[in-house]
């Protein structure tokens, strides 16, 4: 029984989220099957990357502000949080996170009459997302903290002269400038966060019913065929496309953040390898 490529796509395009054919291909392993299934796994990479990045952005802003606060009660915890997550391998963080989540009571935690479910945290879709969220928040916070420190003194003096103070000064002057200065580095962080999502199913988090990410399926094919020269280039191809899309999207935001500046002073986004965490 051989399937045409269209049938293969129909059967496996959403295999990674549990739709379509239950069994993974066992023989043959056509190019079409490999392309479809690895592409299907990419759904998870995008899911983890996009959600962790979105949620991490808010925590990162809060952490950057806390780290630049004068009060040690705010500053010290933020410094320790950032150091812990930036100073240790993400791989170990996944292991540690999983072990900690498994120890939580299975029936959930009763808090003021509301039961908080904890079994989700031992599943990859939630537990790994939490770890990635905390990890990217720490890396982004360091970027935003650095940007906050390099906001030109003159900008703040000008704000003072206009009588802009307090939260208004932060929202109108400090925050936009911080974002603008930190954006090129943040673009890198976003790209490498998406790259880091490939670690999820290689750490402790089990893949439920063989529903994994792009690299999970690529290594499945490499294991079955003993041929690394087809599946790995395919997953590489998908990630190049993803990287280009991200660069394009972040460039658009960068243009908007820099729109008030003369063209020769605008910050350019340059890809810097920062890789594995």
């Amino acid at each position: 029984m051989t399937m045409t490529c269209a049938e293969t796509i129909a059967a496996y395009a959403f295999r990674s989220i549990g739709l379509g054919e239950r069994m993974l291909p066992k023989t043959g392993f056509t190019l079409c099957e490999q392309f479809t299934l690895i592409g299907s796994g990419l759904i998870w990479n995008i899911y983890y990357g996009a959600l962790a990045l979105f949620a991490g952005f808010f925590l990162a802003n809060a952490l950057a502000l806390a780290k630049s606060a004068r009060s040690p009660w705010l500053r010290k915890p933020a410094e320790w949080f950032i150091f812990t997550f930036r100073g240790s391998p993400l791989f170990i963080q996944f292991f540690l996170g999983y072990q900690a989540f498994v120890l939580l009571p299975k029936s959930g935690i009763d808090l003021l009459g509301v039961t908080i479910h904890t079994d989700w945290l031992t599943k990859a879709w939630c537990g790994a997302l939490v770890v990635l969220f905390l990890n990217t928040a720490a890396y982004s916070a360091e970027i935003f903290y650095g940007a906050l420190r390099s906001v030109p003194k003159g900008d703040l003096e000008a704000a003072d002269a206009y009588g802009i103070t307090g939260f208004k000064r932060f929202r109108r002057i400090l925050w936009p400038t911080m974002l603008r200065l930190g954006w090129p580095a943040y673009t890198n962080e976003a790209i490498f966060l998406f790259h880091a999502t490939t670690l999820v199913f290689f750490s402790s988090f089990p893949a439920f019913r063989q529903q994994g990410d792009a690299l999970y399926y690529a290594s499945y094919f490499a294991d079955k065929t003993y041929n690394p020269f087809i599946p790995y280039p395919i997953v590489g191809f998908y990630f190049i496309c993803l990287t280009l899309t991200l660069t394009f999207a972040f460039n658009a935001v960068n243009k908007r953040l820099n729109r008030h500046l003369p063209s020769n002073q605008r910050a350019r986004i340059r890809l810097r390898p920062q890789l594995i965490r």
Partner: protein
């Protein structure tokens, strides 16, 4: 290790812990930290060499060489490095074995790849099937080291290429005006001066390299992650030292190890940066000059 550890079932409290932590498997766990350090000690200079060659190739006037160098530098940018790790370990192994296969078994007629397997003649197996287990482990570790060196060499090439371009053009032109040949300019002016520009990037890479070492576990080496998994898992009464699932504690220990290693590296690299910035025409150098005056 200690005489009182002969019969673990009679022990309790501190003695139990002492004997538990010095059991044979725990000693292997401690040695595996050595594996990590060896990996770092070998990979760092080799990757620096690869990176240096990559950067020189990318700067070369020869178009082919320059393209080759740039492709090497670019390869790590768009694709997650872990994919390279997974790929190179198998690909290198198969490449070596295929090469040996053609040299040692020229009369072999069966195809190497059948779609479902990779089969070379027994004489081309590395290490030979009959070799003791230790050789298999050493070969696996060597493959991992080469893989690390290739991937980190590409990062290093990026950093060094940038650093070479950051050396002020006027310095090189002055040297040329004094009649130094291209080679002399490169050796006496460019290379000595580029390090201060490369150091921030190289420091960053060193920290990344430290944090990449747990990936050895994925490459099939019995490293610290492997032993933490192995030792931490719950042990029933049939084991000499029964205990519950202690993996959380083992991983916390690994976390502490990495944090300490990172912190120490940061301090050392900070000192090194200060030393290299001394007297340089950079912002850091200028700040040091002003502080001294």
């Amino acid at each position: 290790m200690f005489s009182q550890c002969a019969d673990p079932s009679t022990l309790s409290g501190f003695n139990w812990m002492l004997c538990y932590l010095t059991s044979g498997k725990h000693l292997l766990f401690y040695y595996s930290f050595g594996t990590v350090l060896i990996l770092l000690a070998v990979t760092a200079p080799v990757a620096l060499g690869f990176g240096f060659m990559g950067a020189i190739a990318a700067r070369s006037h020869s178009r082919a060489l320059s393209l080759l160098g740039k492709a090497y530098m670019l390869m790590v940018r768009g694709i997650p490095d872990i994919i390279f790790f997974m790929f190179f370990v198998i690909a290198l192994d198969q490449a070596f074995e295929t090469g040996l296969h053609y040299i040692r078994c020229p009369d072999w007629t069966e195809p190497i790849r059948t779609g479902l397997e990779f089969k070379v003649c027994p004489e081309a197996k590395i290490p030979p099937n009959s070799a003791p287990q230790i050789f298999h482990q050493i070969y696996g570790f060597a493959l991992a080291v080469v893989t690390f060196a290739i991937v980190f060499g590409a990062f290093t090439a990026n950093v060094l290429y940038g650093a070479m371009n950051a050396v002020p053009r006027a310095q090189l032109e002055t040297a040329e005006a004094y009649g130094l040949s291209n080679r002399q300019v490169f050796r006496r002016i460019l290379v000595p001066q580029m390090w201060v520009y490369a150091l921030p990037g190289l420091s960053n890479l060193w920290l990344i390299l430290i944090k990449a070492t747990p990936l050895l576990f994925l490459l099939g080496v019995n490293d610290i992650v492997y032993w933490a998994q192995e030792l931490g898992g719950s042990k029933t009464d049939s084991y000499a030292y029964p205990h519950d699932d202690w993996r959380l504690w083992y991983f916390l220990f690994l976390l502490a190890f990495y944090l300490a290693f990172t912190r120490v590296s940061e301090i050392v690299l900070g000192r090194l940066t200060a030393r290299l910035s001394h007297g340089q025409a950079t912002m850091a150098g200028e700040a040091m000059r002003k502080a001294a005056a």
